[in-house]
């Protein structure tokens, strides 16, 4: 059923595009726009949580423990970013891999979205209802990813 959902999602997006590559680019762009919306809300939430945790914590260990749920959200956003870049690279090299590779990376993007959805829930961050709904639908395609998206380098190394 999940594979069928993914196929339907991709077929539906083709209404906006003429070729399979354009369909794939539409899916990637729409997903990236959704991740950007989550990133904007999460950045403010992170700053607010950090301010409260800094005031309430007596040492770095307590601070890190307080920040752990929203640290996981920050990491999940970076994973989604990497998954989207990987998907875009597959679309750029479409002739080399074709639609089969695209279906695999699209499922991995969905897996990354599911990780974001879970992290948002765990961190208790409030998002607009339509964004939560879109995330839930997109992440329901997670079953087709052959392996979990790779964890990105630590935030300290990202620049």
């Amino acid at each position: 059923m999940k594979k069928l959902s993914l196929v339907l999602f991709l077929v539906l997006t083709s209404a906006c595009a003429a070729t399979p590559q354009e369909t794939a680019r539409t899916v990637i762009a729409v997903t990236a726009a959704g991740v950007r919306s989550v990133d904007i809300v999460s950045a403010q939430a992170y700053t607010d949580r950090a301010r409260a945790a800094l005031a309430a914590s007596s040492d770095m260990t307590a601070y890190r423990a307080a920040m752990a749920p929203i640290d996981a959200l920050e990491e999940s956003l970076r994973i989604a970013d990497q998954a989207l870049l990987a998907a875009e690279a597959v679309v750029d090299a479409w002739d080399a891999g074709g639609s089969a590779q695209w279906m695999a990376v699209a499922a991995c993007v969905a897996a990354a979205l599911e990780r974001i959805r879970a992290a948002i829930e765990n961190a208790g961050v409030t998002l607009p209802a339509e964004l939560v709904s879109a995330l839930s639908t997109a992440s329901s395609f997670v079953g087709g990813c052959p392996s979990p998206p790779p964890a990105p380098a630590s935030a300290g190394g990202a620049s």
Partner: protein, 65 residues
Amino acid sequence: MTPELVVLIIEAGAELAKSLIAAFAQGDHTILQRRIQDILPAPLLTTIAKKLADAEAEKKFGVAP
């Protein structure tokens, strides 16, 4: 086509439409032609927030062992 399939198509179409509307509502009418690096900031805003917060925490508590 089963009723379940019809419902799924309608739901998926509605969610896609919501995402597109959200992008357009942000004034981003060209978003479908843009590349990831033009849509998502590098680093992400949340990652920047984390770096700034980590710096504040290190200033208060010292660098973590």
